[in-house]
Subunit: 318 residues, 2 copies
Amino acid sequence: MATTIGIDLGGTKTLAVRMENNDLVDEAKLSTPPSEDLVGNAAAAIRAVWTDDIEAVGVGVAGLVEWPSGAFVWGPHVAGTGLQVRSRLADLFGVPVVVDNDANAGAWGELHLGAGRGYDDMLLVTLGTGIGGAIVLDGRVHRGGSFAGEWGHMLYQPGGAQCDCGKRGCWETVASGPALVRLARDFIAQNPEGTLAKALGGEPPTGEAITGAADGGDETARNLVAQVGEAFGRGLCNLIAVLDPQVIIVGGGLGSVGESLLGPARRVAADALHGGSHRMLPPILVAALGPRASAVGAALLAEDLATGRLSLRVEQRA
Amino acid sequence: MATTIGIDLGGTKTLAVRMENNDLVDEAKLSTPPSEDLVGNAAAAIRAVWTDDIEAVGVGVAGLVEWPSGAFVWGPHVAGTGLQVRSRLADLFGVPVVVDNDANAGAWGELHLGAGRGYDDMLLVTLGTGIGGAIVLDGRVHRGGSFAGEWGHMLYQPGGAQCDCGKRGCWETVASGPALVRLARDFIAQNPEGTLAKALGGEPPTGEAITGAADGGDETARNLVAQVGEAFGRGLCNLIAVLDPQVIIVGGGLGSVGESLLGPARRVAADALHGGSHRMLPPILVAALGPRASAVGAALLAEDLATGRLSLRVEQRA
C-alpha cells in the first residue's frame, strides 16, 4: 500500500484527495480557473494535499486523454489541447504520474471501493451536464484506442437538439441536466401559472430545483424527470446491445437522483431489450462514491503505478 | 493442428466446412429446413462433411447463443428457443462441440485468416438482412454476458420503421438489404418511368439488383446505396464512441458491395466522430473471408477446443 494523491480536474471544479491504505485521509476542493494552464491547475490541486511521503499521483481529466501517454487531447469543457500533462507533472513533482479520462478513473474507484465491488464486467455511465462513462472488462478498464466510453455522443435523434460537441441529436441532448432544464423551461413558458412554476418560486429552472420539486411531489416535475429517465434508459439499452455487461453503475449529479429517474430508465431499458423476453436486464445501480469517484479512482491508479501493478509503457501498435 | 468441422447455421442457408491445418479441405451448402429441429439441421450439415478423423466441431448460429453452454436462446430468423445445441451435438457425434453466435464465429475467422490479421482490438460488423457483429478485444472475442455485439438493435430513429425484432427505429431498419429495397420501392412508386425502374427491367427491386444498377452507373441507385451507407456510417460512429476500436471490419452480403456503400459510410463517420478534428477514424475494411467467415471461424473455435486453447468450463458469476 502506498500514499498517493488523486485529482479530479473538471471544467469548473477540481477535487484533490490523499489516500493511504485505501482510506481517504485528506481532501481539498478548488475552483478550476478558466485558463488553458491545465498543468498549472492540476499542480495547484496536487500541492493542496501534498505530503513528503507521496509515492505517485493520479489525475482524471474531463475530456479525451491519450492512454497511456497521458496527453490531454481535447474536451468541450476544459481549455487546452495537446498538452503533455503526465510528463510535465512527473517532472514538476518528481514522482510517477498517471493521467486518465475522469470517467475511467471513476470506474476504477467504483470497481474497487464502490458499487462495482464483486463484478468484473461493468459499465460506469455518468449522467450530469452530459453523459460520459467507462468500460471495465475482466476487471480492467478498457480504453480502446484511448477514447472508449464517449457514449454521450451516440446518435439518439437525427436532426435533434444542438449538442455542445457541435453535432445534433446526441444522447446527452435528451438525457442530461441541461436537457431536463430545457424541458422545464419549455413547460413553464406554456404554463406560466402551473404548479411547476410555483414550485420553483418563479426562479429560472435548474436541475437541482426540478429534481427537488419532483421529490417534493410536484407531478409535472416528476413527469419531466421521468421523461429524461426514459431517454436515459433507451440509451442504456443501446449499451447493453453492444456490450451486454454484468452491471451498469450510474454516476454523476443527475444520476444520483435515484428512483424517480432510474425507475423509468429501467422500465424503458427492459422493454427495449433485444430478445427481451428471453433474457434479463442487468442490474442498474447508483454509484457509491458520489462526487469523489474520479479523484479516489485516480488515487487508486496512482497506487497501482507505485506498486507496479500498472505499467504505462507505450506499446507498439500493429 | 486438428481436423475440425465448422458450421454456419443461418435462417435459410447452412454452410459446412472441414478444415485441416487452417486449410479448407471440404465444404457443403445446404438449405436450412424451416423447422424447430435446429439440432437436426446442424447434424445434417455436420454429416455432409464428416470424416472419421474429426477431433471437434464448431457451430455458429444466427441468434442469441448462451456462452459457454452453447444453448440457443432465441433468434428472429431461426426457429426454436432454449435448445441445448452444444451438449446434444456432442452426444450425437462423440467429439467436443462449441456453439457460438454466428458473428462471433465470423470475427474469429476474420481475426486469424481474414482482414483482422495483425489487429487485436477489432469489431466485425455484418451488414445484410440485418446488422450483427462481434467484438474482439486483446485478441479474444468479448461476449459480455453472452449477447454482446447485437448492435443492429441500437436505437437509430425514435418511432422509426418497424424492425423484425418487434421494436421501431433500430439501426438495421435504415441500414440493411431490406432498408435499401424499401428506399428503391418508394422511389419507383413515385417515379415509375425513371431510370431506376428501367435499370431493374420492371422487376420488383432486390438488394442485388439495386447494387448491380449502382455499379452499372445508374445515378438513382448510386444515391440510394449511398443513403444506406450514410446511415450505416452514422451507426459505426456510435460504435466508435463506445469502443474506440483499432479497426472495423465490415462483413455480410451488403457489406461486400464496396466503396459505393463504404465510401459514404466513412465520410459520415469521420464527420460525426466525437472530437473529430483531434483524432483519426479507425480503418473501415471489407471482410476477407466472404460468406465463409462464420463457418471457417467455427472450425477454428473447434480447433481451439481440440487443442486445449479454449475451455468451455462454466464459470461461477459473482
